[in-house]
């Protein structure tokens, strides 16, 4: 999971509460029937994973029982908890909901149980390309894609019209920056020092046909980043312009995905790059009466902005993959359960109830999806074109250094920042400096 939350906070809390209550009940009265208990460590959602756990337990007909255990809210904290447990050989990690960027870090020291060939084949036969790539490490499928995520360019039709932008055609970062400036409105981007900074830089570099890492499989000492390049400088230029000209609003340095959504929904909102969760959240806000219907009617979407006109865009990729712990005592059963969890029907249902898009192509075909999510085709296209973040066991170090160097936005200098970032990443990976 890349985004902090895929659903409104209240719903998330309600879901978390229900999950905890269910856990307590299950702990109190479960396991009497003698079925092996599989623990599924889930990221917070709107209760969808808990429902799937119940459905698959029922479907297993006594063969196993799935209990869910809630991980912390943000992806880095989820990684921290899972890494500590995996390193300690915790056998309760039967199934884990993993942010795809941390898959190589867990796969490299063999913390994940090998995926049986037949399971890999059945579960990934129609997986969208971007999502499939995130499940592979060292040319092998080491985790199973459960759902995929991507960002779209959301915009207020009234602002685009005022700025004279043709949103049906190709839209570049320059276009939206100029439009925000000319209409005196703010861009919904993510300036807070956090994972979203790395997501954004990667998308800007990938949208120029380049990659941050030359050789993602290289060991720490030889790993080199290539930000000090034309592509890296162009990416820094976008950061710097938005920061220096105040295009992201006064609160840019603390703006994460949710803050950006609130800014976008406000009077000064214009354009925003963000995950699809904002659609469900905006609809919920209108239903609750905290947001006017007019705002919802004014919101439209298109593909992630291009860096240069005519150059294909490479939007960020996120989502959740499922992994099985190497120390799990029920690996075979866990993979049976994984197959049940990621079936296209369940992915469809999960999208409809929780707003998280499927990684399976077939799952998109349900007509109910187009009705509930009018942007479903755009999401699918974006996932297909999306570029994953650097797939390396050292992603965390790279990401933290990028966050350090590229925030605050106003401090980014296209001439020097990319070079310094390259240098610092190299030193951090060689153990020559602190983060």
């Amino acid at each position: 999971m890349t985004e902090p939350r895929q659903i409104p906070t209240k719903l998330a809390l309600r879901g978390a509460g229900a999950a905890s209550a269910a856990m307590l009940l299950l702990t109190g009265c479960g396991a009497d029937d003698g079925a092996p208990v599989l623990t599924w460590y889930i990221n917070p959602d709107d209760g969808g994973q808990r429902v799937i756990a119940e459905q698959c337990t029922e479907e297993a007909d006594g063969e196993y029982e799935i209990r869910t255990s809630l991980l912390p809210a943000d992806a880095p904290s989820q990684r921290e908890q899972l890494a500590r447990r995996l390193a300690a050989g915790d056998s309760s990690l039967d199934i884990m909901s993993l942010d795809p960027v941390f898959v190589p870090e867990f796969a490299e020291p063999d913390f994940l149980a090998p995926v049986p060939d037949d399971v890999a084949e059945r579960t990934t036969e129609d997986t969208l390309e971007g999502s499939l790539q995130s499940a592979i490490w060292d040319d092998e499928i080491v985790s199973i894609p459960f759902w995929a995520n991507t960002q779209l360019l959301w915009y207020r039709e009234s602002v685009a019209e005022e700025a004279g932008l043709d949103m049906e055609g190709e839209v570049t970062w320059d276009d939206i920056m100029e439009a925000a400036e000319s209409t005196d409105t703010y861009l919904g981007v993510h300036g807070v020092r956090g994972e979203s900074i790395s997501v954004w830089i990667n998308a800007l570099v990938e949208s120029q046909g380049e990659s941050i890492l030359e050789d993602p499989q290289a060991p720490a000492e030889e790993l080199e980043t290539s930000l000090d390049s034309e592509a890296g400088q162009q990416a820094a230029e976008v950061f710097s312009t938005i920061g220096e000209e105040g295009l992201g609003g006064p609160g840019i340095s603390s703006m994460d995905e949710e803050q950006a959504m609130r800014l976008f929904q406000g009077d000064n909102g214009s354009f925003m790059v963000n995950w699809p969760f904002i659609w469900a959240a905006t609809n919920a806000a209108v239903e609750e009466g905290t947001l006017d219907q007019e705002v919802l009617d004014d919101i439209a979407w298109t593909q992630y902005p291009q860096m240069e006109e005519g150059t294909p865009t490479a939007p960020p990729l996120g989502g959740i993959n499922l992994g099985v712990g190497a120390d799990s005592e029920h690996q075979d059963l866990a993979y049976d359960a994984v197959e049940c969890i990621v079936s296209p029907e369940r992915q469809t249902e999960y999208f409809l109830t929780n707003g998280n898009p499927p990684s399976s192509e077939a799952a998109f075909e349900d007509p109910a999806i187009a009705e509930e999510f009018p942007m479903a085709d755009d999401i699918r296209e974006a996932i297909d074109n999306g570029a994953p973040r650097p797939q390396t066991p050292f992603y965390n170090e790279i990401s933290e250094t990028l966050q350090d160097q590229f925030s605050p936005l106003s401090g980014v200098d296209p001439e020097t920042t990319p070079g310094t970032a390259d240098e610092h990443i190299g030193e951090v990976l060689r153990g020559e400096r602190l983060l």
Binding site: P76, L86, A87, P250, S254, N396, E397, P408, G431, L435
Partner: protein
Amino acid sequence: MSTATTDKRAKLVTQQDRRRQEVRLGWMLAGPAFVVMLLVTAYPIAQAVYDSLFSLRLTAPDERDFVGLQNYLTVFSSTDVFWRAMIVTVLITVVAVSVQLVIGFALALLMHRAIARLRGPLRTAILVPYGIITVVSAFAWYYMFDINSGFVNSWFSWVPGISEEMDWFAETWSALAVIIASEIWKNTPFIALLLLAGLAQVSDDLLEAAKVDGANWWQQLTRVVIPNMKAAIMVAVLFRTLDSFRIFDNVFIMTNGDAGTEVLSLLAYRQSIMRLEIGLGSAVSVIMFVCVVLIAVIAVKGFKVNLAEGTGSNAGQKKETK
């Protein structure tokens, strides 16, 4: 040999036996606590010192290498990270403790002099911030100053330097000001309480004598009250300095180290928990531990106070032996 001598020797032997028994009893009573202390403090410290000599990443358990003092060299040579964090930590500590001491002393005087009827409610009111959990108070201060949810900007926009669009947590100085202010608000009651106990120890006779000698209020305060409560002041300063030096919650909640506000404990957290680099994280923790010990030694030596003198009975005994 007379019976008197024999009696005397027998008495001496009994006394020695009793003393030995008392020592044994003392060890038996204190022993378990001593062992627990060793387990919960000495063992983790020793483990951290040991781990700091290795290059060890939690997600690469097979690549554990002995590197000697390399981790310490890395830490000390990371000027813009480690030394910056050290300066920020020291700055927060010095400013927060100094202000707390002054305000705390004023509050202690107020509580000490308050008429009996007001004393209880006054103490309760002053102690409220200290009763709030640090994380909760950090969140409260964060939401007060946050540009999106805070009320400070709209309430105080008439104050020069504060505007509706001011992002307190975007710049180093404004962010540090909020962090230090929250630290002062939260912990001043603790200092006030300790100093109040110190004030109560100052004998009224001494003050009467000073008054008779014609000392004014300021002279009484600086020549009689403060010197006689040195132990209490030292304990307050020492405790607060150590606490402030280990500041974590406020910074973690409000800025997470952004805008140049990273402190040493956050740096240790970042290396050990976020990077999972146990060796480097341990090195930072050991350095912090050494700093804490140094602060304690400097405080005790600087104030020239024997901590045992803080209790009335010990102080009395000492005077007698002199």
